[in-house]
Symmetry: C2
Subunit: 270 residues, 2 copies
């Protein structure tokens, strides 16, 4: 296939590296350094977004706020190309698709693979291997579009799961935005561990790793699905309150059953 990739950061760069062996891949990024880094790694570079067309598919891997503008620009002249974005929020893409030109083919995509590293320099062709790649059909997704999107996801080594934009965003609030908020709250509370903060072990480091997410991306993730995020944070506060109350009243049985429930959820992760 002829595949264009808009945005050559961690995700777009990794897709380019994973797909270039078997496809004719061309990339573009607004940032000159990203273009230069990708070019130095052998990725063919276009001189503008429009030049990614004509193609069989264009993967839109820009920052979240730029996804719908990029889709809008591409959709008017996509001529059958499947437009597949890779952002972590899907309702805005579904909303745009509903008002996109009738001939456009648009599929929402979300590879579940890492968020705190950034840039082409962190790109890795094996980034998606064994990960989930969520696909969200939109009002502009036909069978062929879904088949092309699914083929690309599987080719980079991911497992495809299809869901609605609503189910996707509600789940992401629990799996991404909530953990991000908790990591930030843990890190801020961790400052009270001084002078022993630097002695923190791997548990604290892992628990707060998401607090390293670049501030712009982190803010988008929290506010992009505001109502879902607020509800997800509310659920976490509720669980913590139950545990704190159990500790205060010395109720080990309650805490133990809560901890067991948590452990059983985790065992479903595989």
């Amino acid at each position: 296939m002829k595949i264009g990739i808009a945005g050559l950061g961690l995700i777009g760069g990794s897709l380019a590296l994973a797909l270039r062996e078997r496809h004719e891949v061309t990339g573009y990024d607004n940032d000159e350094r990203a273009r230069a880094a990708a070019k130095a790694d052998g990725i063919r570079i276009a001189t503008g977004l429009d030049e990614l067309l004509p193609a069989d598919a264009v993967l839109v891997a820009t920052p979240i706020a730029a996804i719908v503008p990029a889709l809008e620009q591409l959709a008017t002249r996509s001529d059958g190309a499947v437009l597949l974005d890779t952002g972590s929020l899907k309702r805005a893409v579904a909303d745009y698709a509903a008002r996109a030109p009738a001939g456009a083919r648009i599929v929402g995509g979300h590879p579940m693979a890492g968020t705190t590293s950034a840039g082409f320099s962190a790109a890795d062709p094996s980034l998606f291997r064994g990960r989930a790649f969520l696909l969200v059909p939109t009002a502009r997704s036909d069978d062929r579009a879904m088949a092309v999107a699914g083929a690309i996801a599987r080719e980079v080594g991911a497992t495809v799961t299809v869901c609605s934009a609503e189910v996707h965003d509600r789940a992401m609030a629990r799996l991404v935005a909530g953990p991000l908020a908790a990591a930030a709250a843990l890190a801020v509370a961790g400052a009270q561990a001084e002078p022993l903060l630097a002695a923190a072990g791997p548990g604290f480091r892992d628990s707060t790793r998401l607090a390293d997410t670049p501030a712009d991306l982190a803010t988008e993730l929290l506010f992009g699905i505001g109502a879902d995020t607020a509800a997800a944070i509310g659920s976490i506060i509720e669980g913590l309150t139950q545990l704190r109350d159990a500790v205060e009243r010395g109720d080990r049985e309650y805490a133990r059953s809560f901890l067991q429930a948590a452990r059983s959820v985790r065992s479903e992760l595989s």
Copy 2:
């Protein structure tokens, strides 16, 4: 040195493997399988706790609840041996030391290295390399006892930090108990991500890893320093509440400054 090790789980087993090349190491565990596994790996095994003496040092790496009883048993006949425990809570050890026989030498120790794996089968001589090893002087710690404890900690590759039991336990509430409670609350809230729970990416997996801590150990960690733990969980709830309120009122600036503060705490970790 002649070194006894009481408890051959993850920590005691790793200490035995790390120290046996340069010292005469003898281990003991109440559990027959642990003894057999350590023996199969070439660790010399005693027939009882008392048989670890005489020694230059005895490392007490039992489950938390068994530490003070083991110290009590050893202290009456330790004859100058340095008794160094490795539990993650230090106030109980300091309290015991204050009433221990006058001739006993007791130092509180806490290597900051992993908690969710367990058992001798997970033991690894490099477990402590590059990690902090906190040492807490007690009413029964003299200079030689601190020197012996420090030498052992450095020999397994760790960096020594000395602090009081109070500073230690307050910090651990923030670095261990709080993150554990948050991981459990995140996992329970994560169940609401169904049917996409299995699609969780590395962020959610890392954030909830501590929820895999065996329930007995997790309960000890939460209740062993109850007041500190309740305060630490309270700080996390406070941070989450601030973030949720910011999301609800659309206050990106507030959220961004909170996220920046979190990121700067994390940058102090290494």
